[in-house]
Symmetry: C2
Subunit: 378 residues, 2 copies
């Protein structure tokens, strides 16, 4: 009887362990699903795998379809950065074996297994003893491999460990796929905006690359002003789209060689408002529109279309005003060469408080100086 | 002793039940995370909730932020469609109470609880006996309520039921949020494409609405040809973007009132290739480009830019050719009134095999006839 009771007690303890680990797994699956950002998903997956299986390190390799190679995209543990440089061919090393066969592999002592590749240990200086690797699959398609390395208590992975990592990998693969879909759609949108900006610029060879440079300069100011990620995104889109209204300005005026008449100039001055109208129907761009509509306002109130002044001009438009003018000054035109950086900088400073928001000019020059320090050869 | 053993056996049985239900929950969480399509997420959530808690029906209400109301977005069980028409104010009914208090509520006998609103039963004819409702939250923000109704075995919900539904709801809320983010980004992209199409059209008042009508007509053909969802999406984008290359054609030619010279016509004929070039950098639009580049090819090989013929013209472009011409024929121009549908239809038929792919013409006319039957007042 006592013996039976002991067996039952052991069974209870086992079940409780299993239950506990499932509770943790459920919580982990929730975490993995909180975000659509690929890097965050990968980091979470690794951290969770490490904790659940109780290992020293973990890593994720993703399949590069074109090259047919696995590349390390993320790794926990001490040697995180080095490992990211390593590629494995399909079939190479443990991860390569798992990718080729599409099934898990656990090895208690890698020194005794000839499938183990020393490539990553050589690069990182890390010493791998034991390894458990599981494929990341979407239905039957392999998208990568997740590995946990060096089990802390004892060297053997249990069947429970394998099962756990497989469950985590199923959800992990889905989370990776969704993050990629989202990223892809986001890239598509930005590419489309850029393509349109390019097409509008292409009408006038002297403005080529203007939007792209303005995007770059505007992000420098946004960075320096510590704007949020969302605000930075708006700044970026606003720079790319600031001249979209030029679609609505007659070409004979837009591309006129000689001096514009007063009437023609009034036509040109409509482009910020036309741009705002083009974007008006797009509810997700509500916060981008002010940058388009007011990028020709001046800090002293002498700009257009509304003659707003100072802080009454939305910040995003005050940023556009500086970078639009700066790029115009430093670009070549058919009738003059572009100003040097030194002279253009002086112009910005001279016009602080008149044409430009002093804060935006300062931020631009400060950030420029910093970047110049980092990369003197620019 | 026997007594102790019995207790232990019972405990084991209980733990096994718990473990089993967690295994099912883990599988359920995987399912909920397979997709970024909102409707599929909602359907899955309900089906799973129903199965896990073993109830007769389930439903999801989402919060309409602007109106401050909960609306039924999905419901299993017999009376699915009727229930979708019902709104509840915050605080109204069980779901309203849960939304207001942000915590679960279970009621074994709704006839004895005055918080229960008879609104939905009255509309649907369903008889609610017991109910368990749990908030859907993202961090602390309420986005909706999930309800399971009429527990099959016995009328009481257990604390285990509540816990399960809460766990499911945490993941469910995240899945709903991600599906919405994706939908939002997708809408943003389509809106941007449409805004650009509109802006290009706005140059010529006689083409206003052309892209939108062409999109509609092209989808009719795609529908009739049983194209996949992905192909339909490409058809849609191709219709909206088919004339994007007109950005690159000089306005004095594009908008010329009189007859075009041969040289000018050659300039106009560049717009499909310019359009393809504008889109060339966008890798996600690879399958849209043929519709843009070849929408002026003719089935008999007499079109441009390449003089392709028959099935050598990509299907997407053969669709564009029909709908572009059809909308041009039926639209008013400064110098003529648009053709009636009857005469335009005859033109399409007459030009089958010459200008147009016969299959596309037939599909268009067939689908038109069907839709006319469904909505005689169009």
């Amino acid at each position: 009887m006592m013996n039976d009771e002991k067996i039952l007690q052991e069974k209870i303890s086992l079940l409780e362990d299993k239950l506990n680990i499932r509770e943790r797994l459920i919580h982990a699956l929730e975490l993995v699903n909180t975000t659509l950002d690929l890097n965050t998903v990968l980091e979470m997956l690794m951290t969770i795998a490490n904790q659940l299986i109780d290992t020293e390190a973990s890593s994720i390799l993703l399949m590069d379809e074109e090259k047919g190679q696995l590349y390390f995209t993320a790794a926990t543990g001490t040697k995180k950065d080095e490992i990211k440089k390593i590629y494995l061919a399909k079939g190479e090393g443990i991860a390569g074996w798992v990718a080729e066969h599409g099934q898990p592999l656990h090895i208690a002592d890698v020194s005794k297994d000839k499938r183990f590749s020393k490539k990553s240990d050589r690069t990182t200086g890390f010493i791998t003893r034991s390894i458990l690797a599981v494929p990341l699959k979407i239905e039957d398609k392999l998208i990568g491999v997740v590995e946990v390395v060096n089990k802390k208590k004892g060297e053997k992975f249990t069947s429970e460990d394998i099962e756990l990592l497989q469950t985590l990998s199923t959800t992990g693969a889905l989370a990776i796929q969704k993050a990629r879909l989202y990223q892809d759609l986001s890239d598509l949108f930005i590419s489309a905006v850029r393509a349109i900006a390019d097409a509008i610029e292409a009408k006038d060879p002297y403005t080529r690359g203007h939007c792209e440079r303005m995007r770059h300069f505007s992000l420098m100011i946004a960075e320096e002003l510590n704007l949020s990620e969302k605000e930075k995104r708006n700044v970026e889109l606003s720079a790319l789209l600031h001249d979209v209204g030029k679609i609505g300005v007659p070409e004979r005026i837009l591309l006129k060689d000689g001096k514009l008449t007063q009437e023609e100039f009034e036509e040109i001055k409509k482009h910020p408002v036309i741009g705002a109208e083009i974007l008006a129907e797009i509810k997700q761009l509500k916060e981008v529109i002010p940058g388009v509509k007011y990028h020709h306002e001046r800090y002293d109130g002498k700009g257009y279309p509304e003659g707003l002044n100072g802080e009454n001009i939305p910040l995003i438009a005050r940023i556009m005003a500086v970078t639009d003018a700066y790029d115009a000054m430093t670009s070549d035109r058919p009738y003059r060469k572009g100003l040097s950086k030194e002279i253009a900088d002086k112009e910005l400073v001279r016009l602080k408080g008149q044409q430009f928001d002093p804060k935006c000019v300062d931020a631009f020059l400060q950030n420029y100086a910093k970047n110049a320090k980092y990369s003197p050869k620019r």
